[in-house]
Symmetry: C2
DNA sequence: TAGTGGTCTAGACCACCTG
DNA sequence: AGGTGGTCTAGACCACTAG
């Protein structure tokens, strides 16, 4: 917990800058010395200072503008990075055995997808206990080879990772009351609070897939932040 | 939607590398040419290539190891960055008028905090409609000046931003059934699915505050990802 | 042990923006 | 208009690690 990282190079500068911010030597909103000045103080090249400050700016700790200089962020915008793992990985990382069962597979259409769509519903298990219900729609005009896959042995979740790539995506998290169907599959009571993740992915302008993951009651997603 | 960004410098290299990955010229798992080779191909300095590849590695698109080289990530780890704004900001960005009301303020203790703690419960409104219930515990041994604040006019959410800094934090998202009290405050029915965010922040080893935000039914958190 | 990425340097030019 | 950060360069040394 208290190991001394003993930073060197640009990370040492980053650490020192962070120290001064936390120590209120450079209070929020204040303009800190320019890169040249800091480079001179730390006895290094300006590029090294730049590297350190740029990383802090990306983290939201600093705000940098040309000519205006670098200021300590007034509202240290908390950015939490949520890692979205493969469902199989997530289950196995919990030390549980992964299980999978296809519930339904049929062609149809979907409001967010152009042309025909493949609808796949499946359950993912952790140690034989339902963990998450996957309800997915795959665009058959964009990913026609999905027609040849039964999704009986491999989940659409994993199959798509191997057979499709995306350029952008959109995720929303919400709490939903379990419908009768969802409740039944997850072994919960109808109306139970369900953590839901809706994902939409695109390849350029083409919508590839839309998926809703309904997690078993009690599920929680966790993340860590470092701030100022 | 289709504006031509016309990248230059290291961003152009980044774009080209991404293009080759998406075009499957460099399939997942494959080792791509070394920095020197790419620098020669693109006619730039190695540092410029390094900048581009390093950014992609940080985004999870590439995996880099010394001596082994740079490989296209097999599982493009989806990292979604969730921005945690000030509650006031979040409400105002929705075009609603922000409102605040303190519900309770009392001293006590808290399992996660050492020493005495201040317990503050408050409601945040969007256009006179309850938006989120804030139940917070503040460590009085770490932030003693909280004793002098009534939290009648300013929320603990904002007050802490001005009066405390943190070095690390921990956030969990979950879906919870509304308790009778929560339901009453949010104007929901008991048992309704509530999106809950639990946050814990630390300054070094000292726990500063623990807060639970219970959002009004229908609330959703949204984020965008760019991937491979 | 040799090859790869990680980092630093000293200098330079440029884009941007505030005063 | 001038100062600030953003970026590039050419070269160098080092740390790590795969073979």
């Amino acid at each position: 917990m208290s190991a001394a990282p003993q930073f060197t190079g640009w990370q040492a500068i980053q650490a020192e800058v962070l120290r001064r911010i936390h120590a209120r030597e450079w209070p929020p909103g204040q303009t800190i010395p320019g890169e040249v000045a800091l480079a001179q103080e730390f006895g290094c090249a300006r590029a090294t200072v730049n590297r350190a400050l740029q990383a802090l700016a990306e983290a939201g700790v600093l705000e940098r503008r040309r000519k205006a200089g670098t200021r300590v962020a007034l509202h240290p915008v908390s950015k939490a990075t949520v890692t979205i793992p493969l469902i199989r990985q997530e289950i196995e990382e919990r030390g549980a055995a992964y299980g999978y069962r296809l519930l339904r597979r049929q062609e149809g259409t979907h409001a967010m997808l152009t042309g025909p769509a493949l609808h796949v519903t499946a359950l993912h298990f952790a140690d034989d206990t339902p963990f998450v219900l996957e309800a997915r729609h795959i665009s058959l005009s964009v990913i026609p080879q999905a027609r040849n896959e039964t999704f009986h042995e491999i989940s659409a979740n994993e199959w798509l990772l191997r057979n499709a790539s995306y350029t952008s995506g959109d995720i929303t998290f919400s709490a939903q009351a379990a419908s009768a169907e969802v409740a039944q599959h997850l072994g919960a009571e109808t109306g139970a609070p369900i953590f839901v993740m809706d994902r939409m992915t695109w390849d350029g302008e083409a919508a590839i897939t839309a998926v809703r993951l309904s997690y078993v009651p009690g599920y929680r997603i966790r993340t860590v932040i470092g701030g100022s």
